[in-house]
Amino acid sequence: MDIQELKVKAAQIRMELLTIIHRAQTGHTGGSLSNTDILTALYYDVMNIDPARPQWEDRDRFIASKGHSVESLWCVLADLGFFPKEELETYSQFGTRLIGHPNNKVPGIEMNTGALGHGLPISVGMALAAKRDNRPYRVFCLMGDGEQAEGSNWEAAMAGSHYKLDNLVGIIDRNRLQISGSTEEVMGLEPLEEKWAAFGWNVVAVDGNDIEQLLQAFHAVPEASGKPTLIMANTIKGKGVSFAENVPAWHHHVLNDEELKLALAELQGTIQQLTQEGQVH
């Protein structure tokens, strides 16, 4: 897919995730919208995966440490054919396997996450195994910025650089919001890039809602051999739906009928614009 097509894909994923959250009347809207471009770049371009063989040994691994933003992930996995698209309708319904957090009963999900601060230690283990077994796969771990307050991340950060895991990529969805407000008010994180660098990571900052920048950064990994990479993806929580952008309450706001209509129309407009631009180029 070219950049234009990836951007369209991201907008479609956003439409889909809003639809399943609206249907279920539950979900983490803001964080799912903020990381949709990251997932789109990874799943449709960067990662070496095969939906027909979810357990293929040399597949790249993706760990959603910010597991609450599962809706974007469910929509991506369904779109890629890891499971039937109709199953999205069961999201959060009684007895479903598409629950409100990643669940490895579902093909394409490596590990169950949802309690924050678990993803990076797991990813360090996976990347270490690849090194020990001389396997080519990489491990991508998506974390929240509020999540950085969990000490386990820093324990894992130490281990990742200690074991020189240049096959490990940490991504922080730096949308600057958590549940109770801004990250800097709740528990200050800055200077966050310097902290990761001090822990021995190669740090790259990008606009995390710009697919082009994301692709560049992901494809350049590892920039420095023997070092894990931390991609500081500066994003906007609620991205793509103007009235949800940067609004803390949209962390787990569920859309009413009117909001869904407006949001879908806005994203439809984005797609139209992208398609027109695509034809001009």
């Binding site: 009684f94 396997r97 409100g100 169950n112 949802g114 999540e147 969990e150 000490g151 549940i179 109770s180």
Partner: protein
């Protein structure tokens, strides 16, 4: 139907008490909304501490605050508070005997479709194994108010677990005697005893009322304190009614049922049926759906009771 969740009652009560007791402190881990503690944070910013998403730190910090004479109330989702920070609870709170109140909110399967990471159905088992830690589950909003008042006076480590949504009242008002460690007999009965804790007490009471319609006399105990356990009330029930059913929003391993069984089997063995979540990641769904799935319902309790007393088939 009551519309006030227990978490809001805790906030309201602490708001009342904190005005005159400047040592009361509330701590949250990006959880002031889920714990309904935003009004407290806004009214008493000097008595409120935000630690961010860091459950180990919140318990350790609280132990430090308590050591310096503060009365910290830690309000955080039960799943993380009871498990993520359990070593801090064991060493910094229980072992060091600091005056920390751990308020686990949205416990049990309150977070239905969010899955096992967010369910808190091992918390009682884990907490029970820690010496010196009291464990309390209030039954409704009235009991929650009385409990919160009692907690401010109680000196020591306590784990409290409440759910997320409002529950139907068990009591008509808060005009009754509440004592930590003392079970409340909600209904007298002779043929069997149904023991509930926390928000399953209402279900136990409904089942007993349904049994009364069948001419069966069931006693109901509200075992709000699981530790220290009211052994006397349990043994009296064993001796006088001969059969016990326990009902809890918790794994069948290590919770209320296990605690009751340990007492009964070592002192006055009688048949016990333990109702709770089986040994599996609980099915996804809303509380009512999950309870229905596992038979944590008044109908099922009634059926079990009739089976136990040999009146099966009358349903």
């Amino acid at each position: 139907m009551n519309k006030i969740p227990n978490r809001q009652v805790i906030c309201d009560t602490l708001l009342d008490l904190a005005r005159d007791d400047r040592d009361i402190m509330v701590l949250a881990s990006d959880s002031r909304g889920s714990a309904a503690m935003a009004p407290f944070a806004n009214t008493f910013p000097e008595q409120f501490v935000e630690v961010g998403i860091a459950e180990q730190n919140i318990v350790g910090m609280s132990a430090g605050l308590a050591h310096s004479g503060k009365k910290p109330f830690v309000t955080s989702p039960a799943c993380f508070l009871s498990m993520r920070s359990i070593e801090q609870v064991k060493v910094d709170v229980a072992y060091s005997r600091t005056n920390v109140k751990l308020i686990g909110i949205s416990g049990g399967i309150s977070y239905g479709a969010l899955g096992m990471s967010h369910h808190s159905v091992q918390d009682i088992a884990v907490a029970r194994a820690i010496p010196g830690l009291a464990i309390i589950l209030p039954a409704d909003r009235h009991e929650t108010k009385k409990l919160t008042e009692a907690l401010v006076k109680y000196n020591g480590g306590v784990y409290v677990r409440i759910g997320r949504n409002p529950v139907e009242d068990v009591y008509e008002s808060d005009d009754y005697s509440f004592e930590i460690g003392k079970a409340v007999t909600l209904k007298k009965g002779t043929e069997l005893t149904i023991i509930g804790t926390g928000e399953t007490v209402r279900i136990a009471l409904d089942a007993a009322n349904a049994l009364a319609d069948e001419g069966v006399s069931a006693r109901v105990l509200n075992m709000h304190t699981i530790k220290p356990l009211d052994k006397e009330a349990i043994l009296m029930a064993a001796r006088e009614t001969g059969r016990i059913i326990t009902v809890e929003e918790h794994s069948i391993h290590g919770g209320l049922g296990a605690a009751v069984a340990e007492v009964v089997v070592q002192n006055h063995p009688v048949p016990i049926k333990i109702l709770g979540i089986p040994d599996e990641p609980a099915i996804a769904g809303k509380t009512a759906e999950v309870f229905e799935h596992y038979g944590i319902t008044q109908q099922n309790i009634k059926q079990i009771a009739l089976d136990m007393i040999g009146k099966a088939g009358t349903v």
